[in-house]
């Protein structure tokens, strides 16, 4: 916590705009991100930093308190938080670009749920060139309207204005989390603000990291990870054609491995469909 004590220190304009650190996600964890479209890291930011962040947002209640990025304590313990940065590093590769804009969905509870939506300028596809990240600086139980996401919906195209009439979606989950939690999302995931029945101010800081290097399988490789037999199933399977989610997840995972050129779907019962086979699946890209 020594860094937190340097309150008031500010990062200069000349400070590096990229960051690098060890990648700590495993093959399975990266694949899980491809399946779900989000990763929740609970309580990773120290309590003192959470308090500083809430105090900062009380002082700067503009919806884009971007100047918080210049605070050294925020940079060290939120933006470059080891648990977060190593996850971002796993998904976006080395020397990823740091956020240059901070948004705050700051709302006084109680409040109603918003409509389901995908954020603007989305790009559906297997590529993962940027991540949208949310930070809860205060406890965010169900009564404080945590963001809700539809796991796996980053694989299903939609338009925000075609989602205006949706309310209940089976499988949607609230990102209930203690103070200091951060969740990392594929930008195009379907989400909304949940209803809050409690009282108090809810902050939700939102920011972006970008890829600067081509994708590669440079996270923690599991020796027994088998591209041929691993389950590519996604929780979104119930709303798409049979096996379509498996195919989308496999394509995204191969893209992250830097092997998208090798991805193929030969149809029928070929790879990457799940099955109890007596050998390598037909259509498994060579070299995997």
């Amino acid at each position: 916590m020594a860094g937190v004590l340097k309150m008031g220190a500010a990062r200069s304009d000349a400070a590096p705009k990229t960051h690098d650190c060890p990648a700590t996600l495993t093959d399975t964890e990266v694949l899980d991100f491809c399946k779900n479209g989000y990763l929740l890291l609970e309580g990773v930011v120290p309590d003192e930093v959470n308090r500083l962040s809430v105090d900062y947002c009380d002082q700067d209640d503009y919806y884009e308190p971007t100047s918080i990025l210049a605070e050294d304590w925020f940079h060290q313990h939120v933006i470059c938080n080891p648990a977060v940065a190593s996850s971002v590093r796993s998904l976006l590769g080395p020397h990823f670009h740091l956020p240059v804009l901070m948004s705050n969905h700051r709302v006084a509870a109680p409040f109603d749920a918003t409509g389901w939506h995908v954020d603007g300028n989305y790009q559906f596809g297997p590529e993962l060139n940027y991540l949208q990240v949310f930070y809860d600086p205060q406890d965010t139980p169900g009564a404080m309207g945590p963001t809700q996401v539809v796991p796996g919906s980053h694989l299903v195209k939609n338009k925000a204005r075609f989602m205006g009439h949706l309310t209940g979606i089976r499988g949607a989950i609230p990102t209930i989390a203690p103070a200091g939690s951060i969740f990392i999302t594929a930008y195009q995931i379907w989400h909304r603000r949940g209803q809050a029945t409690g009282k108090g101010m809810r902050n939700l800081l939102k920011y972006f990291y970008w890829r600067t290097q081509p994708s590669a399988r440079d996270w923690i490789v599991e020796e027994d990870f088998d591209f041929a037999t691993v389950n590519y199933g996604s929780p979104i399977a119930s709303v798409v054609e049979q096996f379509r989610a498996d195919i989308k997840v496999a394509e995204m995972f191969l893209w992250l491995c830097g092997r998208h050129d090798d991805f193929q779907n030969l149809g029928g019962q070929s790879w990457p469909l799940p099955a109890h086979r007596n050998g390598a699946p037909y259509g498994l890209p060579t070299g995997l």
């Binding site: 299903v156 195209k157 949706l166 209940g168 979606i169």
Partner: protein
């Protein structure tokens, strides 16, 4: 009964059970019920896993009494688990799943797909 009418009835039942139902309370509830008699179109959007009326519901929205009614958090508690359930409860289908979705690429799933829109007058 509509959700609003059910709320009024539940309040009356609660007061009655607690021995607190007064003549004034009963009159106020009756007035509230009478004011809620304007007929409106209720709408029910049910997104199913296929075009079959019996297919499971994956999403729903209810517009009742001129307002959007939030569904229970747990999908198992939703009032209908299929369009057929709703039909059997008196809802009329006014829009069937749009087959234009077939024209889209099979490689690119779009939206929640199979949307039944039903109506009721209350």
């Amino acid at each position: 009964m509509t959700s609003a009418q059910n709320q009024i009835a539940a309040r009356l039942e609660g007061d009655f059970a607690a021995g607190q139902l007064s003549a004034d309370g009963l009159r106020a509830a009756l007035e509230a019920l009478l004011q809620d008699t304007a007929r409106r179109q209720d709408l029910l959007y049910l997104h199913a896993t296929s075009t079959a009326p019996s297919a499971s519901v994956v999403a729903m929205t209810l517009v009742e009494g001129g307002a959007i009614v939030a569904p229970p958090d747990d999908p198992d508690d939703w009032p209908y688990q299929s369009a057929l359930d709703a039909i059997n409860d008196g809802w009329r289908v006014i829009s069937f799943p749009n087959m234009a979705l077939l024209a889209l690429s099979a490689d690119d799933p779009h939206g929640l797909g199979f949307e039944f829109i039903l109506e009721k007058w209350s």
